[in-house]
Symmetry: C2
């Protein structure tokens, strides 16, 4: 199979089941990727990730560039040996983080000058620099450096989208490790159909191994998000994977797959876990609620994760109330398993041409 090839195995409506060939194995899609911002999915070991069925893991270029440094990680053989994960890894470009975390000093056609959120030191990210850093990190899927903007202002969205396209060209030129790393383009354009179409058309002309939809799940309405997916997905080639960045509720995974998305990532399952919230098909549970104090039941009787197989709501509540690390670990494992299992089950349903029934039965979508 050709490097970075995407096999479209089945379609059911717009929903797709696929297989993406990476340097660290075949990625079965749809897939949900846990986020390991600092080269660790918070509180979860690689063994536990494997056991809960994770295949793709995301790490953040911005954070790892600042600490411990991409050259340190590169010198140690890259992210795979560094973090003990031998499956596929995806790094983002840093574009989203300089926008959301960094103290931006200047954005121009050259790149983004920002101050570190750790020590205030000044740094410049350009498209070329982002690709170079991602090459040092050595992930299987790397992302173009993009510019984000307020998603509901047409003028700034247009400017950012056009710059993102120019930067995508430069990323393509800077992308030298083509044999090992697949570079994805990122469609921008906020919530504006004309900008999204223009962005998608320009990027697909550059023939990337995959395409991401960026700049969503940043405050716009669900209706705007889903409509944007319906606009963008038909513009993307069938034979390339489609990645919806930063999305990770149960509802959004189902609605995304329904509209043709293959890859998702989000900090939500692990972040909710650290705040004592469990994701289930019948809605979120605040484990700290007093009613859980003596509850022998697991979070979800239908869940096959080690948390639900071994521990009661009463024990999990005690751990969270006592601020014990194990509470965050066990809830993270459950939440990640819930999304990863959902993605696997959607894949099977697509192959068996029963996606709509599966999605309808999964749970009442309005509850999440």
């Amino acid at each position: 199979m050709k490097k970075h090839a995407f096999e479209l195995i089945a379609k059911d409506g717009e929903a797709r089941a696929g297989a993406f060939h990476t340097s660290h194995g075949v990625l079965e899609t749809p897939v949900f990727a846990p986020v390991g911002t600092q080269a660790t999915v918070k509180g979860v070991t690689p063994d536990q990730l494997r056991d809960l069925g994770a295949s793709l893991v995301l790490a953040n270029t911005y954070h790892l560039y600042l600490r411990p440094g991409d050259e340190v990680i590169g010198g140690l053989g890259g992210l795979h040996p560094f973090m003990g994960w031998d499956g596929p890894i995806l790094t983002d470009s840093g574009g989203f983080q300089v926008w959301s975390l960094g103290d931006i000093n200047r954005i121009d056609d050259e790149g983004v000058t920002f101050r570190s959120h750790i020590d205030g030191s000044e740094h410049l990210f350009t498209p070329e620099r982002s690709i170079c850093i991602q090459q040092n990190l050595g992930a299987d899927i790397i992302m173009c450096f993009d510019e984000l903007s307020d998603p509901d202002d047409h003028e700034t969205c247009r400017t950012s989208m056009k710059r993102t396209t120019q930067w995508a060209e430069r990323c393509l030129n800077a992308w030298t490790n083509r044999d090992k790393q697949a570079l994805f383009g990122i469609v921008q354009g906020g919530i504006f159909d004309d900008l999204r179409k223009e962005s998608a058309e320009q990027l697909t002309g550059m023939d990337f191994p995959g395409y991401a939809i960026g700049g969503l799940s940043v405050g716009e309405s669900k209706a705007d998000m889903y409509r944007t997916l319906e606009i963008v997905n038909p513009c993307l080639p069938e034979n390339k994977p489609r990645y919806l960045m930063g999305v990770g509720t149960i509802e959004d995974l189902i609605q995304g797959v329904k509209r043709g998305i293959d890859i998702f990532d989000c900090v939500l399952p692990t972040r909710l876990a650290r705040h004592g919230a469990a994701m289930t098909r019948t809605g979120r549970i605040n484990i700290k609620n007093a009613e859980n104090t003596t509850d022998e039941a697991p979070i979800d009787a239908d869940c096959d994760c080690i948390t639900c197989q071994n521990f009661s709501r009463a024990y999990l509540r005690h751990l969270v109330q006592s601020k014990e690390m194990l509470g965050a670990t066990l809830l993270s494992i459950h939440n990640l398993r819930t999304l990863i299992r959902l993605a696997k089950e959607m894949r099977q349903a697509i192959i068996e041409k029963r996606f709509d029934t599966y999605a309808r039965n999964y749970y009442h979508l309005s509850t999440d």
Copy 2:
């Protein structure tokens, strides 16, 4: 084999290899018990504990009585199902915690009145109450409620020791669940040979299933600790296990076993881990040191734990520097494995009559 029976399998000098029969399996001694203060060894799952070779786990009566409450845990079937640990569990009596953590209002012959460190509420622990709470918690080994005192004041040590003996009688009378729980007496007396001897003689007269040595590792010199062990151990019956409470450095484990101790527990390995320190046979490593930034080596090339098998010092340093939970988890696993493996290896060396050589070779004792 009789309930709570201790088989003395081998002796080499004063060092002992034994097998203690509990309601949840046979405990091979010498043994080091990880501490799960709030019914969880901080940051480590029960699966990980089993994998690193833990057999006995300690939980704290004071903490669990206050939160979630011993009746809550009792109603859920006790600590074993609650925390998902089906091996032997030991609970302390709360005596040490009311002394070190509680805001003590009054101590008299009846018991100790203290304020909770969580919400300031007032509580009374008596010997009978401590045993009742420990019965609700359901551990395999439970401890007499004892009184601690400044270890180097003879007068207060004598008062505390005498009260501890009186309370031991009352604990013996309150101990009803004799089939399932083994009650240990606690020898007190500070660093005073006469008091320690008197305490040991009085307690052994009550024929407990096991004996602990309390009130050590609380600030006295190593010389005082080791001399006290040499005084107490010969006073204790050969056919009962001996437990040195709250001790957990490599040196103290070796010196304790050399003097006849069978059981140890300590928060040190997990607490050091949370502060970024690794225990090794050649001394402690501060993983945050700059020299570890690019070090591909594991903490200890001879260690068989999952941390040393999978992760570099460079990665561990990055995790600790980034305040990632996984750093504490992986260092805890390593530190616990180091002490548990040491105890297992000492057992084998005793059986093979080469304990002194083993201890001498283990490492240069002065480095820990």
